[in-house]
């Protein structure tokens, strides 16, 4: 008997018990869909971070308080590296006066606040930078302007709002420029707004209000600066500037600072995200394994139900291999069909979620999910099929 025959027999068996087959597949569908979806989110976020960070230019240095090996061996990432005193605004100013070969030093802090205008409100991310923040923000102004140096120095209550904030507080095309909104009860004048950026790692990138970092301090009551960005004039000087930064900050922070280039930052982030993605995919993989056990269970039931059929087939000449392949192919068909549906569901889910989280369905994730589910079918199908193939034809024929 050839493969096509086994295949036809398997198809008939799968379709003979439609509900049971569908339920059995469900385990695999959920597992594969979960793998596809989680990997899509992981990949999507990674891609977005990469493009955001790269959009800032390759001549940026990130300074974090605390020590972190560039290989990512530390316990955490980014703002809040292990140990280390946080920076303050004066550290940024000091650095600015002591460094050469740079365009700007930008301290960055963030918080969250409730913005209100008339009876409308919006809970938004507050991002504080100096007036040179434009150098490290990749959004485009729709109208108005960024705050200037004197506003920054005076801690003026002015803000540039993201597109989501604009549409929440000023629907119907109302012009926000010059309007006074309240943020956590304090009055701020809107001096500009950004066009839509889209996507977002931790929520909506457009749901942001950019204010002078000095003004943010009075909003959050927190004067800590978790990160400083340094824009180097020429990319070729980046290592020089890095050494300079360390030297300048050494008297106050000794070696408790971390200076990373864009590449290094991305490297650590990607490593972390990669680990997270693998972990999540692993958990999803476990559900795929559970789906496989479901297949094994149903195949064992199927074999015992069809003992007589196996006896008949053997009596008329089926060999061990014929019975074995019939049942393995049946199990594989369940898992592969489940895999295909799972990929469709996972990709559909990724598409549906793409408004909330960046998602990217990569071909390799699809390929791995497909072959893994097929493998699950073979692995969990072999034992029941082997049992079937070893049945004694006389016993099988007598089976009621």
């Amino acid at each position: 008997m050839n493969f096509t025959e086994s295949f036809r027999i398997a198809i008939r068996a799968v379709f003979a018990n439609k509900v049971r087959s569908a339920l059995t597949m469900l385990g695999v569908i959920i597992g594969v869909a979960a793998v596809i979806l989680l990997v899509a989110i992981g990949t999507g976020v990674q891609g977005e971070v990469t493009s955001t960070v790269e959009g800032l230019g390759s001549n940026l240095l990130f300074i974090f308080p605390g020590k972190q090996s560039t290989t990512g061996g530390g316990s955490s990432f980014g703002p809040g590296m292990s140990g280390g005193k946080p920076f303050s605004l004066s550290d940024a100013q000091y650095l600015r006066t002591r460094l050469q070969l740079i365009d700007a030093v930008v301290p960055v802090a963030s918080g969250a606040g409730n913005a209100r205008y008339q009876n409308r409100n919006d809970y938004a991310t507050l991002s504080g930078t100096t007036d040179q923040g434009t150098l490290v923000v990749s959004a485009t102004l729709g109208a108005g302007r960024f705050f200037n140096r004197s506003e920054n120095d005076a801690a003026s209550r002015v803000g540039v709002i993201g597109y989501t904030v604009k549409t929440s507080l000023f629907p119907n095309g109302e012009d926000p420029l010059g309007r006074v909104i309240t943020i956590n009860g304090q009055r701020f004048t809107v001096i500009g707004w950004y066009t839509k950026v889209g996507g977002g790692l931790s929520g909506d990138q457009d749901n942001v209000i950019r204010v002078p970092i000095s003004a943010l301090e009075s909003l959050t009551g927190n004067s800590r600066v978790p990160i400083m960005l340094v824009k180097v004039t020429n990319t070729s000087d980046i290592d020089l500037v890095r050494a300079q930064i360390k030297r300048v900050l050494a008297p106050k922070f000794s070696d408790q600072i971390t200076v990373m280039s864009q590449d290094q930052t991305l490297g650590i982030f990607n490593q972390l995200l990669g680990t997270l993605t693998v972990m999540l995919a692993g958990i999803a993989g476990i559900s795929l394994l559970v789906g496989g056990i479901g297949i094994m269970n149903i195949m064992l039931v199927s074999v015992s139900e069809r003992t007589r059929e196996i006896g008949i087939r053997k009596a008329v000449g089926a060999r061990t291999y014929d019975i074995l392949s019939q049942f393995v192919i049946e199990a594989m068909m369940l898992s592969v069909l489940g895999g295909v549906f799972g990929i469709a569901v996972g990709a559909g889910g990724a598409f549906a979620l793409s408004g909330l989280v960046p998602t990217t369905v990569t071909p390799w994730a699809v390929a791995i999910a497909f072959f893994f589910s097929a493998g699950v079918g073979i692995f969990f199908g072999v034992y029941p099929a082997w049992k079937a193939s070893k049945l004694d034809p006389i016993v099988a024929l007598r089976y009621e």
Partner: protein, 303 residues
Amino acid sequence: MTKKPTTDALPKGAADTGRSLASQRENAFLGEDRRRAEWGRRLDGRRTVLEVRGVTKVYQLEGIEVHALCGVSVAIREGEMVAIMGPSGSGKSTLMHIIGLLDRPTSGVVSIEGEVVGDLTPNQLAGLRNQHIGFVFQSFNLLARTGAQANVELPLVYGGVSGSERARRAREALERVELGDRLNHTSGQLSGGQQQRVAIARALVTNPSIVLADEPTGNLDSRSGVEVMGILQDLNAQGITVVIVTHDANVARHARRIVELRDGEIVRDEPVPDRLDAHDEIIQLGMNTVGGVERARAAGDPA
């Protein structure tokens, strides 16, 4: 088979119309010696398709040895129609499983078409079953939810016959059991007698050396039973070797030779002196089905 029509009990008119009945009656007048001599002549030069020699089968049942067969020797020659008869528990099914290469004897030799099957692997035995043996079971054993033609094709599938050839041969076999118009009917859509005829077609389709039927009428009403026996007799008349396992003496009388088992031993092995012809029984039962009457007419009914 509850009805027991015998040659003597036949109504006069019916008896006169059956050609084979007449020859049977003639047969009955022959002496035992002459009958055996004629039997020998009939089989002269025919090759032995299947032979068991000194076969024993011992089952272990909770530590107790059950001797199901105690040294059975039988040779079946091409074109024979043999009934293996005996009361329940006498070892008929055990013998049939061994003849059918489904089981191995504890000792003794089994050979089919001259090949001794002693040390063959299960897969090799499966190949021989596929090639040489056609099974007909008491409970039909058709695949559920599968059409008649697909059922009949099954042995060809495992025999590696290609799709179109398979379909052609399956249809041909179904026509031989007069089910050419029921190709796609599943078990649920066929009567018991029809199901057994599908099973016979399945047994035939590979052109086996032997068709083995284990209580083929056991699950049928008497009328369908006679029809099935008629088909087996027709097939035998066309040269097919048939072995029927039965506990019923009247079923056995449709064969040409009876091998009687008792407690695992052969106590009788001789030609049937008063063979029943299923077609005569069909007429006698006053049936107008399954072409039985037509066949009987064609066979010599002047009316």
